[in-house]
Symmetry: C2
Subunit: 290 residues, 2 copies
Amino acid sequence: MRVYIQRYPVGVTMIGAQVAKIIESKNPDFPVGRRIVGYLGWRTHTIINPHRSSEYEFLSQKPTLVPDIGDLSPSLYLGILGMPGATAYFGLLEICKPKQGEVLVVSGAAGAVGSLVGQIGKHVFGLTVIGIAGSDEKCKWLVEELGFDHAINYKKGDVEVALRKAVPKGIDCYFDNVGGDISSIVIYQMKPFGRIAVCGSISSYNADSSSLPKSTILQPSFVFNQLKMEGFVVTRWDNRLSEATKKNLQWIHEGKLRYRETITKGFDNMFDAFVGMLQGKNIGKAVVQV
Amino acid sequence: MRVYIQRYPVGVTMIGAQVAKIIESKNPDFPVGRRIVGYLGWRTHTIINPHRSSEYEFLSQKPTLVPDIGDLSPSLYLGILGMPGATAYFGLLEICKPKQGEVLVVSGAAGAVGSLVGQIGKHVFGLTVIGIAGSDEKCKWLVEELGFDHAINYKKGDVEVALRKAVPKGIDCYFDNVGGDISSIVIYQMKPFGRIAVCGSISSYNADSSSLPKSTILQPSFVFNQLKMEGFVVTRWDNRLSEATKKNLQWIHEGKLRYRETITKGFDNMFDAFVGMLQGKNIGKAVVQV
């Protein structure tokens, strides 16, 4: 949302996904009382034609009905069963391409995407998983509740040293949500033929595009260890979205995936919730309940 | 050579490829008078068992007989018909995966590898090719003799502006020999799903490994445009080496590839020739004739 909105003129309704309840309908396929998920923007109420693409060019999927998932909250379609869940699933599977026994490092590890990436890596692929996050509370959650092998609080101590200590033989896969200095540190500890999935670059989202931050250059490590790095946006797998949702739901039921939501109440608190998320105040998916 | 030698202890004979004439032989497959090419190090005379791998762990191919190539110089087996030729061929083909009509940028474009990458791109794949090099003489050679569409002297003027002017619609493929600031500039002008082959990082070879240079971070452009970057060493295609040599020889005969050698005479001038090459004083392959 932080990045995509920059492509639109000032004044456009802020981009964002919603799970919304249908309160009026002229379409029998979308009956009153059911819920839909879609890119409806930051709105309390929306009038839409569900057969039309979203108004947002870069996130143009049509809204879809939220299926019945029993006791689980429909808000999961904004997180583990929605776009963040698919981002974690496809990014790890298709870009990192991990093999059992390999070492995976995840930055932004306590966020909606990172926390899933680490768990899928650990409990589905059998990887050794190291998370990098920004508080002791987050690190504790990653290790004690989600089963990460190790978590590093980048705000305390030296990430380079901590990482070398945790995985002295090096790193096979890096799932990157942050970019910048932390990523340079991780990448210089990668093994030959290591793979890097670049999902986000939150460390630079506030920088002016004409004065982006500088970090240690990556090319020497790329040549030396024949590394591969690929940036991705989950929309490239739009036609396989249901595969990710199905797997993630199955893994929730099997006890392999846990999740957390940081819920802010009230539409008027949306902005603060959003900025707080960018500052790392949330654990798991940041949701605003209207 | 500059990078690999750092993996060996001080005192080891400097790594390097030679075309050498056989002046004594106990092996009928390697008769006196024929020439071999191999990683023999910086030596005037070498006693070897040709069935044994090279002493250099990272460049361990066995020496091979240089075939008869008529009027062409056997020294081409150090350049266009040897490792640099294969590096250009496989790096462009297998990492950049160019499609006809795309835009290719090559840095270090007047070097042994870069000058071939651009020509293969232009005359074999039908790409629009922009070279970045360090002198007007090199740029003139690239455009007027090798057929590059455009060449930019990075020591004169603003590469970012010159590049945007040369290819306003953006770049599909980037073959990178230099790393650092120039690469950040190129990468921020790439199109969605652009591919980057990292062949070298000559801009940082003199830096201490504990204080590598910093440049504008790459992750924002990677996410935004879903770019892919891969570092490579040509040895990964050792079993396909003859394919590259055959193709490059064929393209020489068809007039598609031209080459140049910067020849330094005398073994004692080896060091100066080597440092000169790292400073960009050569055009095409730097060869020392003993």
